[in-house]
Amino acid sequence: MTSESERAREEFFSEAQEIVEGLGRDLLALDEAQKSGHVDPDLINDVFRAVHTLKGLAGLFGATRMSSLSHKLEELLDDLRLGKVDVTAPVLDLLFLSVQLYGKLLQAEKEGRDQPMPELEKLLAQLDRGASAGGGAGSGGHIIDPNLLAVLTEFEEHKLKTNIAQGNTLYRLKVRFQLATIDQGLDELKATAKPHGDIITYLPASDGDDIDSITLEILMGSRASASTLRNALHHLGVEVEELPRQGGGPAPAAAPAPAPVVSAPVPAHHIPTPTPSPPPVAPSGVPSAMPPLGHAPLDMTAPHPFPAPRLDTSASIPPKAQELGTIKSVAQTVRVDIQKLDVLMNIVGELSIVRTELERLLEKMRDAHTNRELRINLHRLQRDFERNVISLRRGILEVRMVPLGQVFDKLARVARQISREAGKQVNLVITGAETEVDKLIVEELSDPLMHMMRNAIDHGIEEREMREAVNKPAVGTIALNAFQKGNHVVIEIEDDGKGIDTERLLEKAIRMGVVQADEARTMSRREVLNLIFVPGLSTKSAVSEISGRGVGMDVVKTNISKLGGVIDVQSEPGIGTKFTVTLPITLAIISALIVKVSDQQFAIPLANVQEAVWLDVEAVRVIDGREAVTLRGSTLQLCYLARLFGLSDTPDSNGTGPFGASMEVPPMGPVAGVPPRGSLRSESIRQDYAAAAFPYRPAGTSSPSARTALAPRQRRRFIVVTAVGTRRLGLVVDSLVGEQDVVIKGLGPSLKNVAGFAGATQLADQRIALVLDAPALVEEMFAHADRARMHGGTHGF
């Protein structure tokens, strides 16, 4: 369908988009550098190059407005490069504004719109002025070996540069930790080293002769002398080595062999700082995604004032190497439509089915006493096949993964903008930008995170005066952390602001009737905090009373639930607030609880499942037309899936009609908690639920002993407790089959009006199970209940 030229246009847009994103990143780095008072000319060069490329691209595709913007920007950047204009906050504002405009221009160009853009004219005029404002001298620079930069995260790179800029000495520390206690060990080391300097990065060293321990090489910048450091860290068994500085030869290779900063083979990720899980140490299991770093001299030049590594300022990275680097990166990436990956994933699904079939045949052969040798060979082949299918599947999943850094960069830009708007000084600290998540999740994540970032700056961080009054640093800090935790990715947004005012939140909740006054007295702090996810109670109006733009935290929570994630909040008054978002790594495969309703299997995403318990029919009460039980002190509305889906009730229900029969159904066995498998936390439910059961018994029910006697004939049903936001719903199912990782496929347009299903999945036994859309069901049930109440009806659904 797409003609050549259309394809070329597509390419243009995606390439331009990428460059604009990169530009945004560089500007942020420049902003950081500007704040720290030391601007790296290389960064300006990068920005210049990006704009130059954009100009060329825009010219090629006749995007005139883009090329004129690029042209003006180029002039300004050239002046910056030559030191004719200083890098100042207003100049940076202009640059940031242009990144925004680039985005808009691209959008307009893509949609073929050609409406005037007054802000562009304004910016162009400003750029003219900006370029003419002369004066000031350029700043000195330093260059760091690109090999080392490839290993460092942006933040670490920045730290390294800051250290060099401040003229600190770089040290290499070597320390061995027992794997079992590495977390404490690292913390202790960090705490001890903190007063002396800044840990830039740590990487595991190669000498893995002992599997119980690991040697870390730590790169640290410090003002202290080697002996001071040695004394301070001696008790931790740290070896301290000062990094010799390069002699000043023009090319790194000519330098008298400097000690390599990192001589170890570098695993794909450095040890993520906040992860509680043990670091990836298994030497063989670590994929070497990074180029091996054989000999990585730290090639740098220093700023003028300090007696620090002073090097030949004119010698930068040999230009040739740099060019090669760019060409390489272009050649090594391929842009792939995510739908093509879905097709591949489907094929893998088919292969898995073939595999199951093969296994079944083998099983048959064993019974049929066929040729033993043949059977063994076939079995081996089948195992090979299985292994390859699994790695194929993993490979495809990996391709879908993109680093969270993409979103974080956007967030950093937003943070900068908001903090300037709000007149607050905020320092954004990002860790774990390299953590990878499914592309689709990253796309959907930016809005919720953006909103949380805005909240943190608008409502979390206090005004400067207020901060100073309570002895807090004048500059607020927002930490954005990401790390992997099993099959999930955790993202934290933490501010050191004033915290959430729980009293006011509660007050408002009572006023709105969300919480009853007597209920409020028994609520834990955590429960109160969670009220901010209730619609209409978001921090914005509830706590600060600033009429705000944007949406409430309830929407954030809903969006995150849609991605199969959960959000949690912690807050201490005067200390700060921390939002923790836990997301599945991929949407393509989710963990689901497989249940049976009238012999049909359904999958419920585990992300929506809180627990599963026995259904005690006796405990079911009809409250205002809704059936409910009391589970651990709070009311849980029930939804009988068989009834909702119009499936015949189980034969065990003794012929009672499909509607409202639960009260008459002979009671089932005693209530008990049932953990289907590990991840459902229900160990302690047994007593809780039993104790919480209604003391009331409908008249005419049999005595407990009669109940037990009946029990064998009656199949017990289960309640699967699903939670979406603060709302809970108990789905009544006939049996629990188990937990399984499933690939969700969307239902076709012909079924789009059928509510309650998020898709379907093929189970191992080739059968298709529909995947329940728990958020939709919860919404539906609650809406139904509201409607029923409004009409004064007492019927179930």
Binding site: G748, P749, G756, Q766
Partner: protein, 193 residues
């Protein structure tokens, strides 16, 4: 009628000559479209072969609760989920028992979604010239369901039962005696309603 009969008889006797004759006859009759005939509730229906991607045996279906009653359920075709529509229900026909002859036709008439159509039995392909198709308005007049594109009386079906049994049935191996009238369906209309 008479010419049809004549052609039919000759085809049984001297196939080669008949082939040449038929080709000539086709030239006279105008463009030919191939239709796949299938049985629904005892009657013969047909749809253009060009829109039918594949004919599947009946897979185990997974019913979709709360879906419209004409949707039988979903199946997986090489990993892709396909919604199966019961044509009998869609056309409000009687529903007989499902036999092993039942098939699912994979179609994508709108180019948006691959759909499965349940039919009781797949019969044969008819090559029909436009001149062999009666338009419903002229044949039945008045208000005929819009999903009927036309009615065809394919040449072969004109034979009397006696004749048919003797020659044609054996050579092709499909049941034809009920195919005296073939109802041509406009699947776009059927599936969009």
């Amino acid at each position: 009628m008479a010419s049809n009969l004549a052609r039919r008889t000759s085809s049984a006797v001297v196939p080669a000559a008949a082939g040449a004759k038929r080709k000539k006859a086709q030239r006279d009759r105008g463009p030919i479209t191939e239709y796949l005939a299938f049985r629904l509730a005892g009657d013969v229906y047909a749809a253009p072969v060009s829109i039918i991607r594949e004919i599947l045996k009946l897979h185990p279906l997974t019913p979709v609760p709360r879906a419209p009653s004409s949707i039988m359920g979903i199946i997986s075709v090489r990993g892709q989920l396909v919604t199966v529509i019961d044509l009998r229900r869609r056309l409000r026909l009687a529903e007989g028992p499902v036999t092993s002859k039942a098939r699912i036709l994979l179609v994508d008439p709108m180019g948006v979604e691959l759909l499965g159509l349940y039919v009781d039995e797949v019969l044969q392909v008819y090559r029909l010239a436009d001149s062999e198709i009666e338009h419903t308005a002229t044949a039945l007049g008045g208000e005929v369901a819009s999903y009927i594109a036309g009615i065809a009386r394919p040449a072969q079906a004109q034979a009397t039962p006696q004749e048919g049994k003797g020659v044609a049935l054996k050579s092709v191996g499909v049941v034809r005696q009920n195919a005296s009238v073939v109802i041509l369906l406009d699947l776009k209309v059927v599936l969009s309603s």
